[in-house]
């Protein structure tokens, strides 16, 4: 761990100004990921900007009925917020599938979006990693890669995005509000995270001098038929091997709108809106779900250690959609899968 300077921002403009002054600086919110990475010498910012005092801790219902979640709302506060539980249960469920109660108390909404991959080689400064050190190579390709991506990989990176919350946000078509020196802009959720390509050092499309200030959710979506199903190496406190955020808008057993986002399989939450749209009007049954799963996984490629993720993902998608369709979402405190 290297020494660093500490700045405390008093308002959003101040934080943005500090970021603009030093684009290598990093924002400190819950610190659950950044501090770990600093201890491991994976990230060594010369300056850390503490944003915990910024007024971004509210969950508000806007006039059009959409929900605006401040970037500093903790994962625990969000998961147990009555409005979220009532109107966006898929999000609440995904939050509770992640980490541990202690971590959820500290981790924030904005920070969750920006958490780094759990790739072993990224975390180990002695290993090559194009994400940590562009041009050094990828240790995971041909190495220990059972937790790695099967979709959207590149020759330079096969890392996954580790978040559960983001998988639900991707399914719900959330909007990310960011602020930079030129003011605020919205980024549609599916455009926020990116695929590695040949620049895996960039996890997302946030400019170096921008910060996340809020997440917005469209009004009333998928409160009746949804499920977040996470498959992992132990029953709690492990990152997803595969996770599925499933949401269906149904009428008389037929699909009006369907959303499936996958976690643990790619550099970003994985969706295929085109394949989803093709399901409209079809029956909400296993045959449809299987077809959708196969479309989602088209082109999936194992790396040796993670080949199992392909059939696992297909089966998990079908089960999650079945749970959603039957109105029996997975309950994160239940060990058995419904």
């Amino acid at each position: 761990m290297k020494q660093f300077s500490y700045i405390r921002a008093e308002d959003v403009a101040g934080a943005v100004a500090a970021l603009s002054a030093d684009p290598q600086a990093r924002l400190l919110a819950g610190g659950t990921n950044l501090v770990d990475l600093m201890k491991y010498d994976v990230m060594s910012p010369a300056t850390v900007i503490d944003i915990n005092r910024l007024p971004l801790k509210d969950i508000e219902t806007l006039e059009d009925g959409s929900l605006r979640i401040g970037a500093l709302v903790s994962n625990a506060a969000l998961a147990y917020d009555p409005t979220v539980i009532d109107r966006f249960p898929l999000l609440a469920s995904a939050l509770l599938a992640g980490a541990s109660p202690q971590l959820r108390n500290a981790a924030t909404t904005g920070g969750n979006l920006l958490q780094r991959t759990r790739c072993y080689y990224f975390y180990d400064p002695s290993s090559p990693c194009n994400k940590r050190e562009p041009g050094s190579g990828c240790g995971a390709i041909g190495g220990v890669n059972r937790i790695h991506a099967i979709l959207g990989t590149s020759a330079s990176c096969i890392a996954t995005h580790p978040s559960d919350m983001c998988v639900a946000l991707a399914a719900l078509d959330a909007v990310v509000e960011v602020e930079g020196p030129d003011g605020r802009r919205d980024i549609p959720f599916l455009d926020f995270h990116r695929l590695p390509g040949d620049e895996p050092q960039y996890d997302n499309t946030l400019a170096p001098d921008e910060m996340v200030v809020a997440i917005r959710l469209h009004p009333d979506h998928f409160a009746a038929n949804h499920s977040y199903l996470k498959i992992r190496d132990r029953l709690s406190y492990a990152f997803a091997l595969v996770s599925v955020a499933a949401a269906i808008d149904m009428k008389d057993g037929a699909i009006v709108d369907i959303r499936v986002a996958l976690g643990g399989v790619a550099h970003k939450p994985w969706r295929n809106p085109l394949a989803e749209a093709e399901c409209a009007g079809k029956p909400a049954d296993e045959a449809t779900f299987r077809q959708l799963a196969q479309r989602l996984l088209a082109g999936a490629q194992g790396q040796g250690g993670n080949d199992f993720k392909i059939p696992m993902a297909e089966r998990t998608i079908i089960r999650a959609l079945t749970q959603a369709a039957s109105g029996t979402p997975q309950v994160q405190s239940e060990k058995a899968i419904r």
Partner: protein
Amino acid sequence: MFNPSKIVGLPVSRIDGPLKVSGTAPYAAEHYEPGMLHGAIVLSAIATGKIRNIDTSKAEAVPGVVKIYTHENRPSAAWWDSKWQDSVAPPGSPFRPLEKPHIQFDGQPVTLVIAETYEAARDAASLVTVEYKAETPETNLHTVYPNAYEPKKKRSGIQPPPKPRGEPEEAFAGAAYRISAEYVMEGEHHNPMELFATTVLWESDQQLTVHDKTQGSQASRDYICNIFGLDPDDVVVKNAYVGGAFGQGLRPKHQLFLAVMASLDLKRSVKVEMSRQEMFALTWRPSSLQTVSLAADADGMLQSVMHHAVQATSRYEDYQEVVVNWSGLAYKCDNAKLTYELAQVDMSTPGDMRAPGAATGVLALESAMDELATEIGMDPLDLRVKNFIHFDQNGDKQLTSKALHACYREGAEAFGWSERSAAPRSMRDGHDLVGWGMATGFWEAGMAPAEAKVRYAIDGKVTVSAAATDIGTGTYTILAQLGAEAFDVPIEAVHVAIADSTLPTTGVEGGSWTAASTGSAVQIAAEAVKATLLDMAQDMENSPLGKAKPEEVVIRDGRLVLDVNSQVGIALSDILASKQLSSVEEPGKAGPDMLQMRKFVSYTHSAVFVEVKIDEQLGVIRVTRVVSAIGAGRILNPKTARSQILGGIVMGIGMALHEESMIDHRTGRIMNHNLAEYHVPAHADISDLEVIFVDEHDDKASPIGVKGLGEIGIVGVAAAVANAIYHATGTRFRHFPITIDKILESQLKHA
């Protein structure tokens, strides 16, 4: 020998519990002194090769850095290997930190930075750049398997396999039922919560007080005295509280050497604590490849047992365990062949990890027994009962006791084993396949020589002292119970002084020996105190105890009285006052009875029953119930005893399903070197656990009837889980841990 229990045998809560839950029990890294220096270790980034160059210039420029040590400037230390060999070292040349530019394993310490603050030390450590000439490592046991060899020098205390008996090959060939299978186990790392740490309080060039995370304060003392040429009378090692160790703390670790080295060189107090990553560069449970062949006649009587094991060791030490011997003594069989070999990999030397050898060997044997039961079409429990033996055929010795029948009976009843339907895949619960499996567990109940002192003071306070260690198992508490019972005082009146190298000599806290060994020494010392008090009492004028013999008197309510009539006696305070004494103290010494050991051998036993539920589509597995019935002689404290077994079961579930140090064999490096990615069971993975202690009277295992509990809880658990998974899925899993991808793959084949 001992009184009917009053405090001994009761579920007394840990006397050190309040300190631990309130965070006030000081661990090795939690001792402070003004002006103390801090160390940070730089780890090797390669597994094998040589250091070409170390550039410390940037690190030296960090304010607060005092000195940086590498192989180029390390102060001299002992030359002979024998000086570096600790009390449980295997044959070979022990690792010597910062001695040479050669790299022997991933994560080897290559530089020590000493600074005025912890922060400066770590900052500087991150600025040290090391250039290597890397060689190609070999860390895959499968690859080095053909080079396996029988270790020439045997490790002290590790019984080599017995010679073959009968005609195992012929008996196997001619038997009605046969199975032969290979079992693979990946390497594991102990990962106790507390990191290895040493705080050296420097008093003078010769005098040090060292707080070390170790399972033996005297082992650490002897190690540093041998290496640095110090006088054991001038070095005090303490290990008051140990946050788990599981065997990883049996051998001194490199932070002890480094902290003492820097302290002596700089004439300052120094603290060095490891990182979690460093905990993966140490002592580990070696990976293994085992082949077990079993044969039975038409009635299910074993005809042949053959067990061959190859375990990984390092290039520099022949670490050995008792892996295959269990197969020759578990069941009755007149034809047996047991062989054990090592194969070298470019990793650090493996070491004892909870039930070393048995956890590995019994996993293979008990999986194979389940396979044989399937082959015969017999209930797995019936097969074991049928082949029960109350004798050790390996050593032709009688057993001091073996209440395994009771373990089988009581365990099966609590579990409901009789309701099991025999066919695999025949039990279901919704989406889940349900499986029931069982296994037997074995561990040798040993004693190590141990000394203790017991003092009784005129105010009724008792002090029990020995160098023993409490690694979280309850040693403080059971020694207090023994002291309280011997003098009929409340447990609060007993002070337990342990964890200090200046106290009476004991061995390291390992092998499930401490309760039997140190406990017996305490009991014997307490008896000696009573005998001395009786002598004094009989010196008194008109002593009512006249010519009473020591075995005829007991201590009750502060008085030394006749056992048959407690009206007759003298107050202990009066006895002491008669000699103008404020207290009386006597030593006690216990150890294995060599004469008895020629005829008898002692084991603990268990019967473990496990229920698993596996989502048929997704392969997600839950261990929903475990019943473990234990035969371990006298139970001093059912509460701490149960906790030990619970911990063993949890670790066994981890062995079956989770624990694996994942090596990138291209580089020889362990990649999941943190607790987020090295999985042990989380709370959610643990459901109903039931522990049963069956009645087992044993008057030979140890003077206090105790057999020890530290290891037996884990043995057999992983096999019982694997056997339950077979029952649930119809697929036999022989590669541990049985992770979800393996289960899913088998389910895909079924679909």
